[in-house]
């Protein structure tokens, strides 16, 4: 017997602590929750080093479990989730070890921990699915911060870029509810809006990234009006790589119930999460126009510095006489298409003064930034409110072997286009880069085709994509179930009988608990070896004949008693007793094991048959 003073070794709990520490990598310490989780993991570690009694060690296990949950609130991707699960499993095993107080082998402990968790899972799932969710109290938990990278930048200044380097690092991934990609022409994913033009650079609003943790007054929740057409909309699950912006890509038409997604009046979508984290969110596709599209332009959307780019201004003014803004756009399109513009990723830098003039009237080659920048400036000169939008265009449709198919956006998919205000038509997207399509070289869609050709050649890339497929599936599952979904589920289950929800939860939780206990009991048998399990089966068979072992009785005596009561069972029982003894005690060579097991099973079948006959006769 072990002395009570000697608690089980700490190694298991240290291991859980290590896994937790690993899971903490990438947390944002400037966010309150991130700081709190780091502190919790630290406290658990210190307590584990210090704890001398059982109560202290128990507390460590609880702290670790809570830390797992806090981490799960911040990092919901597949890999962190797996780490969190492992940490939870290990800390539970540590707790079990503490209570059992015996030095069980690790695999046995882990199996036990898994068994206990599996037993609790049915009920946890019932609660998870059915207990009504409430919205966050107060302001939610916003998040500040800013580091990391993207292909996008605050300022769009194409004139200063001589060569556009292809950056193939991933930017974002998106999976769709029906696993079908959107048509190629609809793959414009807007991120940043640049309404301010100083003659050279297009800049975002000054307050766009300020005060990241709190939503601005002008920013709105996404939920809009769920009744108009959202029921048929498929959902999109986005996973966005770290960037410098809290603005995240979207198609400009979706809604969402997530409380930390905010729509700015100019159509930027902000996720109130640290930008340097990998972020995920879920949107519902909509067909109806969103409020930002009808947000009237301000004076700033027509602002054009008077000095600079005189030829551009003159050209723009020449179209100002056209009555309908649409006609002015068409005039510009015709002018571009007639101008022999070429798409080039190596246009060289433009002069600091009158750079757009140099592009429009001399070089006539450039990349998307040049076209969007020049076109938007022309439109302003022509009296049409306009702005530059940057984001991503296209993407590679990846169908991994397992998991969800998804659209992969790379930094090289970064793109810029224009938006013009067409009066009652609202803000409309115009992509002037497409007008250079005929000229040669690349356009957005050409780039996408080039990338599709390159895909799948690299084994590493292939492996990565398989992993990402699983990750997408996980994120979709984990993010997919929100308040709306729950509402739909409850409506489907209960209809209008909401009063029955309490009973449903109680009944469901009870059933879950019963299932868990049953599972636990059944699995407890799994700890036994094969002969022992087989013996349990035999004892159950005999119990049906009201023959139960009495204290101190051997199997042989028990079988003898059963045979005396039911003589027809004597032969198979004798065989079973003999066979059990052989399996238990006789040393068996290689194939002997399976042979005796087969004999055992045959005898058991015979016994069952005889038992049925016996019952029928009585």
């Amino acid at each position: 017997m072990a002395a009570a003073g000697t608690l089980p070794s700490r190694r298991l709990q240290w291991l859980a602590e290590g896994v937790l520490a690993l899971g903490c990598v990438g947390l944002d310490p400037t966010w309150l929750l991130g700081l709190f989780s780091l502190a919790l993991v630290l406290v658990a570690g210190l307590k584990l080093g210090e704890a001398r009694d059982r109560a202290g060690r128990r507390l460590v296990a609880l702290l670790q479990l809570v830390a797992c949950g806090l981490l799960a609130a911040q990092q919901a991707d597949l890999l962190p989730s797996l780490l969190q699960l492992l940490a939870a499993l290990l800390s539970l095993a540590g707790l079990l070890q503490l209570e059992t107080g015996l030095a069980l082998a690790w695999p046995q402990l882990l199996r036990r921990s898994l068994r206990v968790m599996a037993a609790a899972l049915p009920m946890a799932l019932v609660l998870f699915l059915l207990v009504p969710r409430v919205g966050p109290f107060g302001n939610g938990m916003g998040a500040p911060s800013g580091r990391a990278s993207t292909g996008l930048s605050d300022d769009l200044d194409p004139g200063s870029i001589a060569t556009l380097v292809d950056n193939t690092s991933p930017a974002a991934r998106v999976a769709f509810g029906d696993d079908r990609p959107p048509p190629a022409g609809a793959r414009y994913w807007r991120v940043l809006v640049h309404p301010r033009f100083d003659g050279r650079r297009w800049q975002r609003d000054a307050d766009a990234e300020s005060n990241r943790s709190q939503p601005n007054a002008a920013e709105l929740l996404m939920d809009g009006n769920p009744d108009d057409g959202s029921a048929g909309g498929r959902d999109q699950v986005w996973l966005v790589e770290p960037s410098r912006f809290t603005a995240v890509p979207w198609d400009g038409r979706a809604t969402s119930t997530e409380s930390n997604l905010r729509r700015r009046p100019n159509g930027e979508l902000r996720l109130l999460r640290p930008a340097h984290e990998r972020r995920s969110y879920r949107l519902d596709e909509q067909s109806s126009p969103q409020p930002w599209q009808n947000q009237p332009p301000t004076g700033g959307d027509l602002e054009l510095p008077r000095d600079g780019n005189p030829r551009l201004q003159a050209l723009g003014r020449s179209w100002a006489g056209l009555e309908d803004p649409r006609q002015r756009v068409q005039a510009a399109e015709a002018w571009f298409q007639a101008g022999g513009f070429r798409y080039s990723t190596r246009p060289g830098t433009l002069p600091v003064r009158d750079g757009l003039d140099a592009f429009l009237f001399e070089r006539r080659e450039g990349f998307c930034g040049h076209y969007a920048s020049a076109f938007s400036a022309l439109m302003r000169a022509a009296g049409v409110p306009s702005r530059v939008v940057s984001g991503y265009l296209g993407g590679v449709w990846v169908e991994p072997l397992g998991g969800a198919p998804y659209l992969e956006l790379h930094q090289s998919n970064a793109h810029a286009w224009s938006e013009v205000w067409l009066g009652n038509g609202g803000w409309q997207r115009v992509d002037p880069s497409a007008w250079a399509l005929d000229a040669s070289g690349r356009s957005g869609s050409a780039a996408e085709q080039a990338e599709r050709g390159a895909a799948g050649t690299n084994a590493w890339l292939w492996l990565q994509r398989q992993w990402w497929g699983l990750d997408m599936a996980w994120s979709r599952w984990l993010l997919g179930f929100d308040r709306t979904q729950q509402d739909a589920l409850l409506r489907w289950l209960l209809g209008d009988q909401r009063w029955a929800l309490g009973w449903l939860i109680l009944g469901g939780a009870g059933a879950g608990l019963a299932a868990g206990l049953l599972l636990h009991r059944r699995r407890a048998l799994a700890d036994l070896d094969q002969p022992a399990r087989d013996l349990q089966t035999l004892l159950r068979e005999l119990a049906r004949l009201q023959v139960v072992p009495s204290p101190g009785e051997t199997l042989e005596q028990l079988a003898g008693r059963a045979a005396a009561l039911h003589p027809q069972l004597a032969a198979p029982l004798a065989e079973l007793v003999h066979s059990h003894a052989a399996r238990r005690f006789a040393p068996l060579a290689g194939g002997g094991e399976t042979a005796t097991r087969r004999r055992w099973q045959a005898a058991l079948r015979e016994l069952k048959r005889c038992r049925r006959d016996a019952i029928r006769q009585t």
Binding site: M1, A3, A4, G5, L33, D53, R54, A55, R58, L62, L65, V66, C68, G69, L70, L71, A72, A73, Q74, A76, Q84, A88, L92, L95, L98, E99, T100, G101, L102, V116, M117, A119, A120, L121, P122, M123, A124, L125, L127, F128, V131, R133, V134, G135, P136, F137, G140, M141, N260, L478, L479, F481, D482, R483, A509, L513, G516, L517, H520, P551
Partner: protein
Amino acid sequence: MRSAEGAGSMPADTGPDQTWAERFGRVQQGESLRLGLRNLYILPSRFGGLWLAGAGLLLVVGIQTQRNGPFLLGYLLLALLLLALHLTHFNLQGLELRCGQPRPGFAGETLLYPIHLRSTCPREAISLRLAGPTSEGGSVPLRLSAGSRTLGLTWSSTARGLQRPGPLLIRSSAPLGLFVCWSRWQPARTQIVYPARHPGPVAAAAAAGSPPGTAEQDQGLEGSDHWHDLRPQRPQDSQSRLAWKVLAQGRGRLSKTFRDPAGVPLLLAPDPGVPRERALEHLSAAVWQRSQRGECFGLVLPAQSIPPGRGREHRERCLQALALSR
């Protein structure tokens, strides 16, 4: 499986849960007890309360961040709590306890009280302890496998006579420590407790009724002090008893036999000069001491007298008479 062992008096984890659990709940009576719904009590432990708070915290975080991870883990903690309620109860339910026949012991010293446990399934971390003013801290949580087993529980008594230990507290918090399940049982069987052994003066009564000069005096008993005789050696005889001189003379292998001198058999009696209980304690020490030395003695008590004798059985008889003396 059948084994007898003493649950050592090691320091146990006597949490605050244990102290109040001891006082709460009806004490079951009888020779045996089968633990079931009617005699088991279960309440959340302090750790269970903390656990609930932890689950609540996770749910709040889930609500605030609208993430499913903390929701799932929070509900999992809640489900584990409810599961542990049943598992802890199952850990004790169905266990059968029966008193064994306790062996006598001395007051003021550790006594072993045997309990037979019978279980049809393996059980984890069960701790048993006999409550009582002087009982030791508790016992290590036991792991029981299916079958029966005998446990010696330690306790001690200050009073002599037929004593029963305080109620037995059987408790378990396995597997997760979230709930404490316990039952209290007063084992019916009494244990004979001899007076404590305190050396001191005892009165010696005259050995009346044994006339001097009888054969008994010469006989003595086989011992090791004085040479008595030679007899043919038997295989089990020690080499050291071999009469080497005789062997050297060629008279065969003979063993020496010895005898202890048989003194005047002493009759012990309580010293009238000391209080009665104290006198009994002195007698208890004297009986033990003389018996250890192999001396022949008898006992004279006000209501009972035991003729002189030797050996373990005689000693037990004397001590029992002391324990039950009125």
